[in-house]
Each structure stands twice: as structure tokens, then as C-alpha cells.
């Protein structure tokens, strides 16, 4: 027997019931195949031999002694580095349903210790805030029923596309057309856009699958889906392929990948869909991109023009700029010029109370092709927990304010606003997106939803998984390790992309038909919206319903 005094404990000593996920293992079912331990991305579990002492007293023979039972079982590590992340891979590979994580319903202790060695908590994923979002709670309540014949979502024709790029006021369009002057480039695209996730953050198989799916949507299904690269460029074979037209190339403060892009321009078969200049993102406003060393593989290093295996933090701002006026002037104009003014260029900013001032600058810039606002619920491959959870502005009111600002100036047709950050967070992707469109967005970008729906990402807002930053993604979505990403078949991803967009298209019609809308996307149709919270209704200038 051990004495109590000798039990070793440190401030960060935890037991399994202190962890966010507790592994339940059923010895009576376990076949000791070892699949769970080998699949676990964080080595949270281990196979171990145990000995159990059974005291034995034989009264008749007046003998005392012990018997020992030996058994084999799975145990859970309790160190912070190896805590279970609840991904559930162990359950999915177990042949006998003998093992699985269970969420700790009590408070858990790890949050107090996620700063070992003075390192603040970094992770991937999303803002860990659960529950229905404001967008989830918006209802489409203006139904064209007896006042007029309703539309048939199944049989009528719907125009669902949106415009990306600067739109001239009609007077100016006619003047320039007559004078043969430059008309800003525009693209007609599907309003649900695959938001920027970099080649680097995503595995090559994920990227390939997305691109294949996007191409299929465009060329076979007739849904003009576009996808945005994050920072970090684009594989050269894509740059020189006819698929480039489905891609929004992002340039961010690290300028990673742009050497490759610029070098490829002479060989490009077509123009990209657009150029996105990233000034900020919703998950970590005021912070640059971050690709942690785990993921800087040989291929990524080549694309980005950096050595292998080093952290790649982008600066928080574009180093060449010191003011918004300058950024608007210089970068937008320069990038427009790079493509001879044939490609729309627009900035992406984090949701912020300062969004309106950026917008007002853009309005005065004849080359700005739109504005993307990424709200606090946006996801990321890697960021500090505190940035993800507590920094930024929710998208709904931010977008609405910007839209109403344009309305007041009569410019709402000119600078299309795009919204991102938490669209489809709880699965209601079309409802969330259409709510934002009716609040004034011309379209929405979605990232996490696509990873979840099209690649089976396991992350959620209760801290499940979210280890996208360290290259151990158990599904092979955000890893550069071939052993992991070969788990993801690009063809399967492509198929899911097609299925997802087909379903979104149907749901869009199911929302628009009862509203009596089919001829154009109901951008700014705020009279169709209601919410069961009078404060929110007042803030968003929509109806309060209960």
C-alpha cells in the first residue's frame, strides 16, 4: 500500500475526469486489435497491462495471501499535450464498439493549464460558442400566398446568381459604353462561395477534391461556384489550367505564393475569378495568417518560397501600407493592373466597428470590386484561442450596417458586399446565407461548413478536434502528412461538393418561392425577415415576431 504522502502531484496534474473528453473503454468487448491507439491523432490512449490484487483468506487452512489478476486495457493520458480531443476516430475504427470519447459534462480543468511553458493556447477551428446564432433565428415570414400565386420551387425557373465586381451606376454605364471607355469587370457567380482556405492549411487531396467538385458544379450542374484560395498561392498546374476561372486568388500580408502566381501570369489560359486582398479575417482580427511548422512540407515550402519546417506567421498588416487610403489606392489598383483591369479586385476585412470606414473608402475607389466582411464566427487553420473566441464582430449587424450605409448613399448596387463568419455553423447553411443576403449581402463565403459537409471535418464548437494547426488532422483535411491525407479521397470530396451545392440550390428555391422571388437574388429584401428578439430586430431593422 502506498502512503498518501508519497503520492506525487503537480499544479498541472490532472486526472481523466478533469479532461474535456473522457474515454470510455469496455474491456468486455475489446479485442486488443490496437486500431484505436494507432489512429489517435494525439496519442491520448495507450494499451497497457494491469495487475489487480485480490486479497485471499483461507480460514480453514488458516492461510492469508494474495492472488493477482492480470488484464489488458486501454488507458487515457492525462497530460495537456496528450489530452483526448474527442475526435472519435478511435470509435470509428474499433471493430467492436468498445471505445469512445464522452464529453465531460462537468467543468473541466484543462482550460486553466493550456499555457504550458508559457505558450498561450493556439488551436485551429472555430469560435467555441455553442447554441443557435442570430442567423439561425431569422425566419422568412413574408409569404406570397393568397395575395398572389406562389411560385413553384420545383418547376419554375429561378435566377439565383449574384454579381461580383464593381457595378457602375446606370448613367455612368451608358456614358462609358457610348464613349467606349473601360467598364469594370464583373462575374456572375453562385452566391454561396467556398471561402478562402489556403493550399497549406488544406491538404493536397482536400484542395484537389474541392477544385474537382467546383469544376463539376460549373461544367456539369450549371452552378457557377467559385472558391477562394487563402494566402499561400495556388499549385502551378492549377494556375495554368482552365480551372483558374473558378478560383479567387488571395493575396495577404505575407505575400506567400505570389512569386509563383506572377511568374505564371504569361502562361495562364484564363483569368482568375477575382483577386481577394486579405486585410483581416474573422477568426483572428488584427492578426496575420499563421501556418505552423508542422504543416510546412516540401511542397508547401516550394509554393511559398520558404524553407521547410518553419513557422510561417504573416504580419498583421501589409507592410507596404500605412493608411487605408493608400491601401485602397495602391493595392487594388496595382492588382487590377496586373490583369489589365480584367479581374475584379476586392478586399477582405474582419468584422469590426471600423468596417464602415473601409467601405466608404472603397466607394470612392473606382477599382474596388466589392468588400468581404468576415465575422467573429469565422474559422481558421491556426490562431490563438483568445483571438478566435473573443476578438471580432458578429457578421449580422456589421453587414447590415454597411449595407444600410450604402443604401443611404444610393450606392448599394455598386459595391457588392459579401459576408462570412459562421454561415452554416449549426448546419443551416442556406437559411443563414439567405438571411444575410436579405440583410444586404450579395453573397456569402463559407469554409467550416464546406469542410464539415464535404470532407467530414469532425470539429465543433464544444472543442471537439480543432487541431487543424498542428498537421495531425485525423480526417486528412488539414494535414500535409501523406499518411493522413491519403485517408481523404479527392473524388469523394468532389462528389460531396456537388451534392452540397445541389442541395443549397434547391433550398434557395424553397426559400425564394414562398417569398414570390425568382427573377433575381433577393438582396436587401429585409421586409421578408423577422426575428423573435425585439432588440435584434431593432438593430437589424427587421421585424420583431413572436
Amino acid at each position: 500500500m502506498d502512503s498518501v504522502r508519497s503520492v506525487y502531484t503537480t499544479p498541472s496534474s490532472l486526472t481523466y475526469s478533469d479532461l474535456p473528453w473522457i474515454i470510455q473503454h469496455r474491456e468486455d468487448r475489446c479485442t486488443l486489435c490496437g486500431r484505436c491507439t494507432s489512429v489517435c491523432p494525439v496519442n491520448a490512449i495507450y494499451l497497457t497491462y494491469r495487475r489487480q490484487r485480490v486479497p485471499k483468506l483461507d480460514v480453514l487452512k488458516k492461510k492469508r495471501g494474495n492472488e493477482y489478476r492480470h488484464f489488458v486495457g486501454i488507458r487515457q493520458h492525462t497530460s495537456i499535450a496528450k489530452k483526448c480531443i474527442g475526435c472519435g476516430m478511435c470509435s470509428s475504427v474499433c471493430p467492436n464498439e468498445a471505445i469512445g470519447p464522452v464529453p465531460n459534462t462537468n467543468e473541466h480543468r484543462t482550460v486553466f493549464h493550456q499555457n504550458q511553458k508559457g505558450e498561450a493556447w493556439k488551436r485551429g477551428g472555430r469560435r467555441n460558442k455553442t447554441g443557435a446564432t442570430i442567423l439561425d433565428r431569422i425566419a422568412f415570414d413574408r409569404i406570397s400566398m393568397l395575395t398572389d400565386p406562389a411560385l413553384d420551387a420545383g418547376r419554375h425557373e429561378f435566377n439565383l446568381n449574384t454579381i461580383l465586381g464593381r457595378v457602375l451606376p446606370p448613367e455612368e454605364y451608358l456614358r462609358r459604353k457610348a464613349a467606349g471607355e473601360w467598364i469594370p469587370p464583373t462575374r456572375e457567380i453562385f452566391p454561396f462561395i467556398i471561402g478562402s482556405m489556403s493550399f497549406g492549411a488544406l491538404s493536397p487531396n482536400m484542395w484537389l477534391g474541392l477544385l474537382q467538385g467546383v469544376a463539376y458544379c460549373n461544367e456539369v450542374l450549371g452552378i457557377p461556384v467559385v472558391m477562394a484560395t487563402g494566402e499561400g498561392g495556388c499549385p502551378p498546374w492549377v494556375l495554368k489550367s482552365p480551372f483558374l476561372k473558378y478560383i479567387i486568388l488571395q493575396i495577404a500580408s505575407g505575400y506567400f505564393g505570389w512569386d509563383e502566381i506572377i511568374r505564371a501570369i504569361p502562361e495562364m489560359q484564363c483569368d482568375p475569378a477575382a483577386i481577394e486582398i486579405k486585410y483581416g479575417q474573422g477568426a483572428k482580427p488584427g492578426d496575420g495568417g499563421l501556418l505552423m511548422w508542422f504543416k510546412v512540407s516540401k511542397l508547401i515550402a516550394r509554393l511559398r518560397g520558404v524553407p521547410e519546417g518553419v513557422d510561417l506567421p504573416s504580419p498583421p498588416v501589409h507592410q507596404t501600407l500605412y493608411s487605408i487610403e493608400e491601401s485602397v489606392m495602391k493595392m487594388i489598383q496595382t492588382l487590377s493592373m496586373a490583369y489589365s483591369f480584367r479581374v475584379p479586385v476586392y478586399p477582405k476585412i474582419s468584422g469590426s466597428t471600423s468596417a464602415k470606414s473601409v467601405l466608404n473608402n472603397l466607394v470612392r475607389n473606382p477599382y474596388a470590386g466589392g468588400m468581404l466582411i468576415d465575422g467573429i464566427d469565422g474559422g481558421t487553420g491556426a490562431a490563438y484561442n483568445v483571438s478566435m473566441d473573443a476578438t471580432g464582430h458578429p457578421i449580422a449587424s456589421n453587414l447590415r450596417e454597411c449595407y444600410l450605409d450604402l443604401v443611404a448613399q444610393g450606392r448599394q448596387n455598386e459595391i457588392p458586399l459579401f459576408a462570412a463568419g459562421g454561415i452554416g455553423k449549426n448546419g443551416n447553411v442556406t437559411q443563414n446565407g439567405m438571411a444575410l443576403i436579405m440583410l444586404g449581402a450579395s453573397g456569402v463565403h463559407m469554409g467550416k461548413y464546406i469542410m464539415q459537409a464535404c470532407a467530414g471535418c469532425l470539429g465543433n464548437e464544444k472543442g471537439r478536434c480543432n487541431v487543424c494547426n498542428v498537421g495531425i488532422c485525423p480526417k486528412g483535411i488539414t494535414s500535409q502528412n501523406p499518411k493522413l491525407f491519403r485517408r481523404l479521397d479527392p473524388d469523394d470530396v468532389a462528389q460531396r461538393v456537388a451534392e452540397t451545392f445541389m442541395a443549397i440550390r434547391t433550398e434557395m428555391k424553397k426559400i425564394m418561392a414562398p417569398l414570390g422571388r425568382s427573377q433575381s437574388l433577393p438582396i436587401g429584401m429585409s421586409d421578408a425577415l423577422g426575428i423573435d428578439d425585439s432588440d435584434v430586430a431593432e438593430r437589424l431593422k427587421i421585424k420583431y415576431i413572436c
Binding site: 400565386p149 454579381i163 457595378v167 451608358l174 450606392r411 448599394q412 425568382s518 427573377q519 433577393p522 429584401m525
Partner: protein, 378 residues
């Protein structure tokens, strides 16, 4: 649902004829009101001179409002030439606060260019409207333009015609538009009743414009004087027509391309596809939605009819050289021009714009797939 009727004839006729046609179409409408617009007006008691005089239409709901109106018109330099006194049977009117139905002829302002006069007339109308609103709605003004008379009232259309003795031939006109319903979907407001009017341009619509709010917000944002009101979702149709023809100075055919643009695959093969694709993008906030038949008239006595992009509303045009009619129901056309050959009646489809030109010799049926002449190189 609204019932619409329009008649255009070389010889002036009584507006009561159109009310009788509305009676023929009575089955499908609630008959809650009447909106009437007349052009090519002739008064039995006064020789109206189109080039030299303008007409104010409205209602003074109180004596005080009428006095204020007299003063305001005088202060704005308008010299009254004729005051049309309707023979009114007040007991047949539902509303009690109708002190006087105003149809007054004023001398056209001098020492101004034609454009200045047009703006001055509109600003005066808006000024009077605001004045009425500031005084608890005691003054309602429908139109102030040369050769346009408008009447709007609550009640059964024919009963209103009887109440105002419109059958007495003291007012006749070459073009009459009538619509038989107050906007009962919302609270009743005379300003919400079709037809709507701005600077000589007028339209009335059958159906609901579901894209109303975004279109209205865009038009309001233009800060163009007169783009106000919007008590009815159909008012934007009038303002879009005004915007397209007067502001953008595009031909009437462009209206259809703005409100119901063609699809990509159709524009790909259209001779003006490139221009029209650009126009569709620039004017995309003016794309209408919902089931609509829009009937409009212009200052030169042109009449026109267009449908929504899905042709979800009925409307028929028919007639003979010299006299034409447009109505939401075929029986309306029959009542308006009984001696026409019904075999030549036409029901426009989604791509058509039907135009009755001022000479009324023949109907122009223009399809969106055909090119049209643009003033500038496009």
C-alpha cells in the same frame, strides 16, 4: 386583385365608358376604389389649350385646405384659367371629408425652358402634397401636368363615376386609364391607388411586386426629386419607367430589358447582347419580381403594356385602327371596343412590349429578342 382598363381613341370619349368596362370585369375584383387618369382632355365648358396650360388634379378635404391651395398656387405664380366643377352627389361617396374635387387649369409658367417648367410643375405638386401631409392630410394632389386629369376615390368604381357625374360628357379624353381597387392589402391611402404619376408618365399594375423594398430603397437612394411616396409596391414601376426614359434617356423598349432582363443564353445570341448584359448588371436592382402586368401611358399619348418575366398575369389588347383597348380581362376589351375583330386580340407573352402609338393606326408588338435603336452608339 386589381382590374385594369385602358382605352385610347382618336375621338375623345367619356371616362364613364371605361368604368362600364370595369363593370364587365367585376367578378374578380373587390371594387374598393377607383383610380382614373385621362389624357387628351377636352372640357365641355372650357377650351383647353395643351401647349399653354397645365392641369392640377386632387382633392381638398376641407375648406381651409382649399383656401390654402389658392394662396399657395398664387404665391408660386400660377394663374388660374378654369376650375372644373363636378356635379357631385356626396351621398354616393363613402368618404365624408371631400370638400372639393379639384381639376383646375392654370396658365403654363413663362420665361422658363421646357425642362425647367417640367421640374417646376413636379416640385409644385410635391410641395402641395407635403403641405397637405403637414396639415393632417387635408389636401391630396394626384397630378400637375399639361393635359393630365386624375381622379382617385374609395368605393365601387361605377358608383364613383355616378357620384361625380362622369357620364355627363363635361370631361372627355382620348386616353383613359382606370384601375378598380384601393390598396386593401394595407391601410387605405389615396396615394396608394394606381395609376401612379410622375412628370407625365403613368403606370398601373395588376399584381404584387415582391422585389418592392430593395427597388424602393435604390430609387430613394438616387435622391431624384419625386422618387418618394411608395405607399404602394406598384409605384416603383412608374418611377422605373420615368428613370429609364427620362433619366437614362433610353427608348421605351429598354424598360422591358430593365425590369425583366433576358437570360444569359438569350443574350448570348442577341444582336445587342453585350450592351444588354451590361445594362442588366447596372440596373440589376430594378429587376421586378412577382406576377405583374404593367400598363403605362406617356405624355405623347403612347400607351403600352408589358408582362412580368414569367407571364403570371393575364392582359389582353385589342381594337381597330383609331381605337384600342388594353384590359386585364378579355371581357374588358370587348366592352371597350365591341366592334373590333376579336381574332386580332393579342395577349402578350413574357418577352413582349405592346405599344399603342399616338397615331393609333396599328399596334406595335415588340419582342425583347429583337434589337432596338439606341440613341448612342452601343
Amino acid at each position: 386583385m386589381c382590374r385594369l382598363a385602358l382605352k385610347s381613341s382618336d375621338t375623345p370619349f367619356s371616362p364613364y365608358e371605361v368604368l362600364l368596362a370595369m363593370e364587365a370585369m367585376q367578378e374578380g375584383y373587390d371594387g374598393s376604389g377607383l383610380g382614373l387618369l385621362m389624357r387628351g382632355v377636352q372640357f365641355a365648358d372650357f377650351k383647353y389649350e395643351r401647349g399653354k396650360q397645365v392641369i392640377l388634379s386632387g382633392i381638398a378635404h376641407t375648406e381651409e385646405a382649399l383656401h390654402r391651395l389658392n394662396g399657395l398656387m398664387e404665391s408660386r405664380g400660377f394663374e388660374q384659367k378654369y376650375d372644373h366643377e363636378f356635379t357631385v352627389h356626396p351621398e354616393m361617396i363613402e368618404a365624408a371629408d371631400r370638400f372639393k374635387y379639384i381639376v383646375r387649369v392654370y396658365k403654363k409658367p413663362e420665361n422658363m425652358t421646357e425642362v425647367e417648367i417640367e421640374d417646376y410643375l413636379m416640385h409644385t405638386r410635391l410641395f402641395l402634397r407635403r403641405d397637405g401631409e403637414e396639415h393632417g392630410g387635408d389636401l391630396t394632389v394626384f397630378s400637375f401636368w399639361s393635359d393630365v386629369v386624375m381622379i382617385k376615390e374609395v368605393g365601387w368604381p361605377l358608383a364613383i363615376g355616378d357620384a361625380l357625374s362622369l357620364d355627363d360628357n363635361r370631361i372627355t379624353a382620348r386616353v383613359v386609364m382606370a384601375q378598380g381597387r384601393q390598396n386593401t392589402n394595407y391601410g387605405i391611402n389615396l396615394y396608394a391607388c394606381h395609376p401612379f404619376f410622375i412628370q407625365g408618365i403613368s403606370t398601373m399594375t395588376n399584381g404584387e411586386n415582391t422585389a418592392f423594398v430593395p427597388i424602393k430603397e435604390w430609387l430613394e437612394g438616387k435622391k431624384i426629386p419625386g422618387y418618394t411616396g411608395y405607399q404602394s409596391d406598384s409605384e416603383v414601376f412608374t418611377h422605373i419607367l420615368h428613370y429609364v426614359t427620362r433619366r437614362l434617356k433610353l427608348p421605351l423598349q429598354a424598360y422591358k430589358h430593365v425590369i425583366t432582363p433576358l437570360k444569359n443564353e438569350e443574350l448570348d445570341v442577341h444582336p445587342q447582347g453585350d450592351f444588354l448584359k451590361g445594362l442588366r448588371i447596372a440596373c440589376r436592382r430594378l429587376i421586378i419580381d412577382g406576377p405583374n402586368a404593367v400598363i403605362g401611358t406617356l405624355p405623347d399619348e403612347t400607351s403600352m403594356l408589358v408582362m412580368d418575366a414569367k407571364k403570371m398575369r393575364p392582359a389582353t389588347v385589342g381594337g381597330k385602327p383609331g381605337t384600342w383597348a388594353i384590359a386585364s380581362e378579355m371581357c374588358g376589351v370587348r366592352a371597350l371596343v365591341p366592334d373590333r375583330d376579336p381574332a386580332f386580340d393579342f395577349q402578350p407573352m413574357r418577352e413582349h412590349t405592346v405599344i399603342i402609338p399616338p397615331d393609333r393606326k396599328e399596334l406595335l408588338i415588340w419582342t425583347q429578342f429583337d434589337p432596338f435603336t439606341l440613341p448612342q452608339a452601343a
